[in-house]
Symmetry: D2
Subunit: 139 residues, 4 copies
Amino acid sequence: MARHTFLLKPRWSDLDAYGHVNNVTWLEYLQEARVDMLFVHAPAEGSQGLAEGVLVVRAEIDYRRPMLLRQEPYPIHLWVSKIGGASFTVSYQIADDTHDGSSLVYGQAKTLLAPTDLATGAPRRITADERAVLAQFLE
Amino acid sequence: MARHTFLLKPRWSDLDAYGHVNNVTWLEYLQEARVDMLFVHAPAEGSQGLAEGVLVVRAEIDYRRPMLLRQEPYPIHLWVSKIGGASFTVSYQIADDTHDGSSLVYGQAKTLLAPTDLATGAPRRITADERAVLAQFLE
Amino acid sequence: MARHTFLLKPRWSDLDAYGHVNNVTWLEYLQEARVDMLFVHAPAEGSQGLAEGVLVVRAEIDYRRPMLLRQEPYPIHLWVSKIGGASFTVSYQIADDTHDGSSLVYGQAKTLLAPTDLATGAPRRITADERAVLAQFLE
Amino acid sequence: MARHTFLLKPRWSDLDAYGHVNNVTWLEYLQEARVDMLFVHAPAEGSQGLAEGVLVVRAEIDYRRPMLLRQEPYPIHLWVSKIGGASFTVSYQIADDTHDGSSLVYGQAKTLLAPTDLATGAPRRITADERAVLAQFLE
């Protein structure tokens, strides 16, 4: 129930010399979707800490089929797949819905994220308020 | 013997609002190092196919410590860690050498790469010439 | 009648360390708007040459007030302001409409563009078909 | 005497679908050169204000010939061409030296810059310390 969907319209400048959305830019797309989920659509209370200092600790991406320039935005589906004491995992799927109800999958990804005190660089534990926000996107 | 090192000087524009090289840009750094290894320092003969159509199929990155803006370039060490029939893996470590002979590691990564016929989008097998080029960077 | 409007949604990654859309990214926004006008909304016939090789010869931008991250897209208004024999000028205004009917202007810009034979790098004259396409956006 | 030169090595990711350094990226190159001049090579004393809040008010670029991917960095020459009460102008030329002593010019540009109190967004006057720093690059 918790899946969030972010619609991202590709830019011409996202294309590389192959005419595809460059593989690097995929990670930027995931970042935009995550910012939208955590900072915009999460309830205001309690999520401020998530907005102000969350570092990416690990990222993995599977590229299945190229994204091209098109008018229609790409749907990026994302959800919280794990909440630990001092880190959490966000999972992603970039996929179009097709007429027969199946999905045309472009790729999928996971990022491990750690709340961090940016002034000191020290990782910190997830607060109860933050946990409640993240739990809304848990799947 | 096969490890290649690419020196990458960070740009001010690589920084995000946290003052760190943005996590997305790490993947761009890996791409620059890979282009340098495969297209510039690989022998000219046989590597043209690698230059003209190699898609990233999977990427994984571990971020250990932030990269900041500095005058000294970051050394990106990379090598071919596996050669399959129709794909190969490049591994990376971003690390400074320290005075006592140890390494200060910023992060490490792997990318799985597949030679592709860009006109048709079809994957293709690695040729003998390409295999010879890749083998020089095998570790 | 000829003014074209492109709606551009800012990305988090467009922000620099000041929290503003970076001044470099403004030029990317103009490029996206231009691609939309010339390649997407121009009639298909005759505009192919414009899509395949138009170089930016000169750009000038006036920055009036910072663009920030927001949900609502920024309207980029653009039009062809001059058509010469071998070049044409596109003018831009980034502005919100306000309730009292006036505009809140973020900035304005001009780019001088030259159709070019990309294989040889040689500039070429604007064809009659291209001129007809451009004339639709003339103001 | 005051001209500063910044050597910028192009990245593969700077190229667009035409195989040229994209016109947008030129503005990024100028920004990198300016940061180097003002924040790195300017004397530490007095220049902190220039590092912490200088907005680009106007930019103009003339593109003469395309920059391509190459091993050799592009020399970006820059200097302060005017110092006003609350703004200053930096001029740029991207050019290779050639064997006969002439220059191969890729392009030239100007940016008008205004020190700004970022907390309030208000422009402010250039201090005496800042003026002394800028004067060292005046030509």
